[in-house]
């Protein structure tokens, strides 16, 4: 640490660089033993063992849900779940990935809810009747790698609090782990996707300023301004760029107005 020599070269790349003196631990990939440095994620440990992913790996950043994984530790009865790209390996960890799980997802037309005359909760009942058969076992909540209270968003759906369910399920990465463990055979995450879109379209208030701006764009208001800018010499454009006013950081949205209102 106190090393004073000038650093010019950086350790880089994506291939794992085990920290100095990393301890090697046994790790069981679908039953086969491999020795891997501790502190790796499951995903990097699998690659360290020599596998090249086709399925089961997407974003590598905990957001796409491609890398759902179940694991146990030898000598421990408890079953755990996580995302392979986000979960750190431990000694004696036994894993299997679940790169795909069949889910129920009925088609629908978001613009046409005539079947239920626009009653959103009735629409949910029509498409996902199984949601109402949740027995409240809580397995989904215990399984969710995003720490979402899945059981609770299902309960909110049952109760008709769709907005609540939409927000509660918002962090869902659609990995399917909850559905794989549900004794009531519910595909929680597809139902939640449906509910979020209902809420986004029908329950959140529309952005009035956006609506107005869309009208202005459609009227062709900005085309002339943009054409003029497009034709400008770089010096002129640069001048406009440097002189443009900056909305203050702490201004409330929709309150501040610039001096130069000509091109709004």
């Amino acid at each position: 640490m106190a090393d004073k020599k000038k650093i010019t070269q950086l350790a880089a790349g994506d291939r794992t660089i085990p920290p100095d003196g990393a301890k090697m631990i046994p790790f069981y990939l679908m039953g086969s033993e491999y020795l891997v440095p501790e502190t790796l994620t499951i995903m990097k440990a699998v690659e360290y063992a020599g596998y090249q992913y086709i399925r089961g790996c997407g974003c590598r950043g905990g957001i796409c849900g491609a890398c759902a994984t179940f694991y146990r530790f030898t000598g421990d009865y408890r079953l755990k779940a996580g995302l392979a790209c986000q979960t750190v390996v431990g000694p004696g960890m036994i894993i299997t990935q679940l790169p795909f799980f069949p889910a129920n997802r009925p088609d629908y037309n978001l613009d046409n809810l005539d079947n239920t005359r626009g009653d959103l909760h009735a629409e949910l009942r029509r498409l996902y009747p199984e949601v109402f058969k949740c027995i409240g076992c809580g397995t989904c909540t215990r399984t969710c790698p995003m720490d979402i209270d899945v059981m609770d968003y299902i309960a909110l759906m049952k109760r008709g609090d769709l907005k609540g369910a939409a927000y509660k399920s918002f962090d869902c990465v659609m990995c399917g782990l909850c559905a794989s463990r549900c004794p009531a055979q519910i595909s929680q995450f597809t139902a939640a996707m449906f509910v979020r879109r209902l809420v986004g379209k029908y329950m959140l208030p529309k952005a009035g300023h956006l609506e107005k701006r869309i009208e202005e764009v459609k009227s062709g208001k900005y085309e002339k301004m943009l054409k003029k800018l497009s034709k400008m010499k770089p010096e002129e454009l640069r001048k406009l760029y440097i002189e443009r006013e900056r909305e203050p950081d702490l201004a409330e949205p929709g309150v501040w107005m610039p001096e130069d209102k000509e091109c709004l």
Binding site: T16, L40, Y48, Q52, A207, G208, L210, E223, A251, L264
Partner: protein, 552 residues
């Protein structure tokens, strides 16, 4: 357990010591002065990785022959086909469609919906699952000039200034003019934007913006956009304008007609190892960026499939590229803990007030410089000023002082505004609302790409492109929030353009691989010895001790 090591904890104390004073100043609206335009240019020239000459290589063949690109890119542009074009029999097509779209991220999916709406049957082929892409990873948000104090005019100025005025003006105009239409479209599709109770969009600043126009959906704007678009695609699989999705089936080559126009592609089923012939009247390439080429050894924020495939196959068919020597390094990639290396720390963290600090806990730059400038500032502080913070695994970084956010906006703001980041570090016992993050620039975005017109058309007839795979919209530097916008605006435009083109031609021309044969001959006459095989499709992260035993 892990968290920060003892040494790092000691260093954090220095940042804590200067924090109260920095927070005071930030409250008064005072900040480290931004660089002047001249300083910006000087800093970029001296410290930006793009400006290093080592690691570059001239391309010997194709439309950009003679231009120098990062070696990793040039080698792939000069690669030979996976297939032997002489022996492939193209008589029977496995699929026939109006519009074939290659790559199902944001751009490809928007294009599929638009092409379908314009009457085309669509095949959407993709390498991983539908939506496993860079799009799903975008956290910070999407730009759109919809506030009263803003307009496409100012958005345009910011886009051009951010790109150092190297952008294609027509593309920047289309981008900023279509932005409100695109946002309205997303709202109609049921996307849950962050809104104030009356419906007004929550907006923030981003690096290089003059008005607050960054729209968000928690800290997962891209994931929300992607899952909404994908969900809508699934509702539209049937009918003559249905969308058929083929997953784990990357394109490995385009097909061309006698006159060089594109008439389909060859897909490769990664699992069964079969090749499929798809005949199409028009093809859209939307395969995204090249982060997984790890240019100059940098870690990357990109998803697993970001391997420049689209560029490689389009180049063989004659599509011209631009700005391929320009790469965006995101200033703030995590360098600690090792498990999070390369992980993007969204610009939102700085937008909310977190500052960048050196080993002494001092500010050394304005935190909201354009990305390339900010990256240069960090590289300079670490390598030139030598005030970086060394990690136990031999990396260097600077502090990103996230605890400032709660200090400025109230307890709990970090958890509320950055839930995913909070979780990702809590896993390693780091509470980013109380301890700062260690960051260094990471390979983030492909600035250049296939040259397109306003409707995604390329130099090759029948071939369209949209999204990160294209160049020109952002010039040589992109501002945060303009890429999600880009992929949707030009995805939709290309979808419509391709559908109209498909309608305008009687049928697809008989498919050949003539362009691949010709390219092979060019490689030979240019003296390219032992070209690698491309496209790359998947990166290989097996460690050296394994590679040594993989005998074939």
């Amino acid at each position: 357990m892990s968290g920060y090591t003892g040494e790092l904890k000691e260093l954090i104390k220095k940042a804590e010591a200067t924090r109260p004073h920095r927070v005071e100043r930030a409250r008064r609206g005072e900040h480290f002065s931004a660089l002047t335009m001249e300083e910006r240019e000087r800093w970029l020239k001296r410290y930006h990785p793009d400006c290093k000459n080592e690691g570059r290589k001239k391309v010997g063949v194709g439309p950009n022959s003679g231009q120098a690109f990062p070696e990793e890119v040039s080698l792939l542009l000069e690669s030979k086909s996976i297939l032997d074009p002489e022996s492939v029999i193209l008589d029977n097509a496995d699929y026939t469609t109006d519009v074939l779209i290659i790559g199902a991220g944001g751009a490809g999916t928007a294009a599929a919906l638009a092409a379908s709406e314009n009457g085309s049957h669509v095949i959407l082929s993709t390498k991983l699952r539908h939506g496993d892409s860079n799009t799903v990873m975008a956290e910070g948000g999407i730009q759109c000039a919809d506030q009263e104090c803003d307009s496409p005019y100012f958005h345009y100025l910011d886009v051009m200034g951010g790109g150092h005025f190297t952008n294609d003006p027509a593309l920047a105009s289309a981008l900023t003019n279509d932005a409100p239409l695109t946002m309205g479209w997303l709202e109609e599709l049921g996307m849950m934007f962050d809104k104030l109770p009356g419906g007004r969009m929550k907006v923030r600043h981003g690096g290089g913006t003059s008005r607050k126009r960054m729209h968000s959906a928690g800290d997962m704007a891209g994931a929300e956009i992607m899952r909404v678009l994908r969900d809508e695609t699934r509702n539209r699989t049937n009918g003559i304008n249905g969308i058929k999705v083929l997953e784990f089936s990357p394109a490995v080559e385009l097909l061309t007609g006698k006159s060089g126009d594109v008439s389909g592609a060859i897909l490769y089923n990664l699992e069964t190892k079969e090749y499929y012939i798809v005949r199409a009247k028009a093809v859209i390439i939307s395969t995204g960026g090249f982060g997984r080429l790890h240019i100059q050894g940098f870690p990357t924020t990109n998803h697993y499939g970001a391997t420049a495939d689209g560029i490689v196959i389009a180049y063989r068919a004659g599509a011209e590229l631009r700005d391929m020597d320009s790469t965006q390094y995101h200033p703030t990639g995590a360098v600690y803990p090792e498990q999070n290396v390369g992980l993007l720390i969204t610009e939102k963290v700085r937008g909310l007030g977190a500052q960048l600090l050196n080993v002494d806990g001092e500010e050394f730059s304005f935190a909201l410089e354009p990305r390339d400038v900010e990256s240069s500032c960090i590289i300079r502080e670490c390598l030139e000023v030598q005030k970086g913070i060394p990690t136990p695994t031999g990396r260097l970084g600077v502090w990103l002082d996230s605890p400032m956010i709660d200090a400025l906006h109230g307890e709990g703001t970090v958890r509320k505004e950055l839930p995913a980041k909070h979780i990702q570090f809590r896993r390693y016992n780091i509470d980013i609302s109380k301890e700062p993050l260690l960051v260094y620039p990471t390979l983030h975005y492909q600035n250049g790409g296939i040259k397109i017109g306003e409707n995604g058309e390329t130099a090759v007839k029948g071939l369209f492109a949209a999204g990160e795979v294209t160049g020109g919209v952002h010039g040589r530097n992109r501002l945060m929030g303009n890429s999600l916008l880009d992929v949707l605006v030009f995805g939709k435009r290309a979808g419509k353009g391709a559908a109209e083109y498909a309608k305008s031609i009687p049928g697809c021309s008989a498919p050949t691989l003539e362009h691949v044969k010709r390219f092979g001959r060019e490689l030979k006459s240019a003296g390219v010895e032992n070209p690698v095989t491309g496209p790359l499709l998947l990166p290989d992260y097996a460690p050296p001790h394994v590679k040594k035993r993989q005998w074939d």
